[in-house]
Symmetry: C2
Subunit: 211 residues, 2 copies
């Protein structure tokens, strides 16, 4: 199909398709003349994935490019899961040594309780230590008491994530599902947490409001 049809089929405006081509988010079509190229189903599918990662997943253009490179390199699932670091706070903020040590110890305790090895993926561990330091610096260190509950919930979710991924047939679909499931899974989890909070909050505090 030509560019105009690709745009219609995918629902992405022509100017945007051209932008994605320039940014390397979409593979070039097969050139049929100096001013024309031919696109196929793989382009439609890729455009849908790009839109999902950008709009629903909230990834930056650079993160989408990295993520697609991971999908295209057909890496093993074990490697690919590490690449999707979207949603992790990268700016750690500053913390004094005592706070930093306290946070690391707390993360190590949680890991020991769950049987996790912490040297596997550096970025998420650093991110978690940063969140704990920030909570303590804000005077909300007691919020960290909930970390075990959070870790247990994360373990159940990850167990379900891997269960699903392991049941898929080909390496390609494993990798794409892992990426899509990780990015959109974060979005689903945040939404579900808000819905659950609103419900429990209404049960606990709702009666006061009628008075």
């Amino acid at each position: 199909m030509r560019m105009a049809e690709l745009s219609r089929e995918s629902g992405v405006p022509i100017a945007t398709v051209k932008y994605y081509l320039r940014e390397g988010l979409l593979h070039p079509g097969e050139r049929t003349s100096p001013n024309q190229a031919h696109y196929d189903e793989s382009h439609v599918r890729r455009l849908r994935l790009v839109r999902a990662l950008l709009e629903v997943g909230g990834l930056s253009i650079a993160s989408v490019r990295e993520t697609l490179a991971a999908i295209d390199s057909h890496d093993r699932t074990h490697d690919v899961l590490g690449i999707v670091q979207h949603g992790l706070p990268l700016n750690r903020g500053s913390a004094d040594e005592g706070t930093e040590q306290w946070a690391r110890r707390r993360v190590e305790e949680v890991a020991a309780m769950r049987g996790w090895r912490l040297d596997l993926r550096q970025a998420p561990v650093e991110a978690l230590v940063g969140v704990l330091c920030t909570l303590r610096n804000l005077g909300h260190a007691r919020l960290v008491d909930a970390l075990d509950t959070y870790a247990e919930a994360a373990d159940r979710i990850a167990e379900s994530d891997l269960e699903f991924v392991a049941g898929l047939p080909t390496t390609e679909s494993i990798v794409e599902s892992a990426v899509v499931g990780t990015v959109l899974g974060d979005a689903a989890l945040v939404a579900l947490r808000r819905i659950a909070q609103a419900n429990i909050s209404a049960r606990r505090f709702g009666d006061e409001r009628r008075g």
Copy 2:
């Protein structure tokens, strides 16, 4: 204290403090002369909160302004929890009517299983429906099978969130803790999910790599 001391005490550069003042993220100091103002502990504390929401929480300037307004208005917890919508995908993307109905039905089933009322907070429900539509449009509808597991995990986390908040003494601390816990809790949860995934993935797929 003067501006220079406020900057030293909070670790925020003077130009940035002035920017936050202009953007309404920091309340003005008490003016002592046409060119000088006096700041106190409340300014140091507010600056730390602003940095945490911006850097670790990943909120935009506009979201921080809304969030601080919620804290300052001393609303009841029940109302405040609804304001912190950070992390929810706002761009729904387009879905045909059949997909939309399928997604709504799925969300209603999950809500029924958990005893949730869905009319309480519109934005997270819309966000969740959007995520499900996107998954289906990408050909990953089977990932939605995990929704019950996600919802159960979200319920446990929210239960722990509210348990903590309800135990706090004053309304002001409830509101600030609710906001900080919601925003930084998302960041912690995402990091924990990655750590858990990496560990389970290594256990499942790790052996293949050595061969």
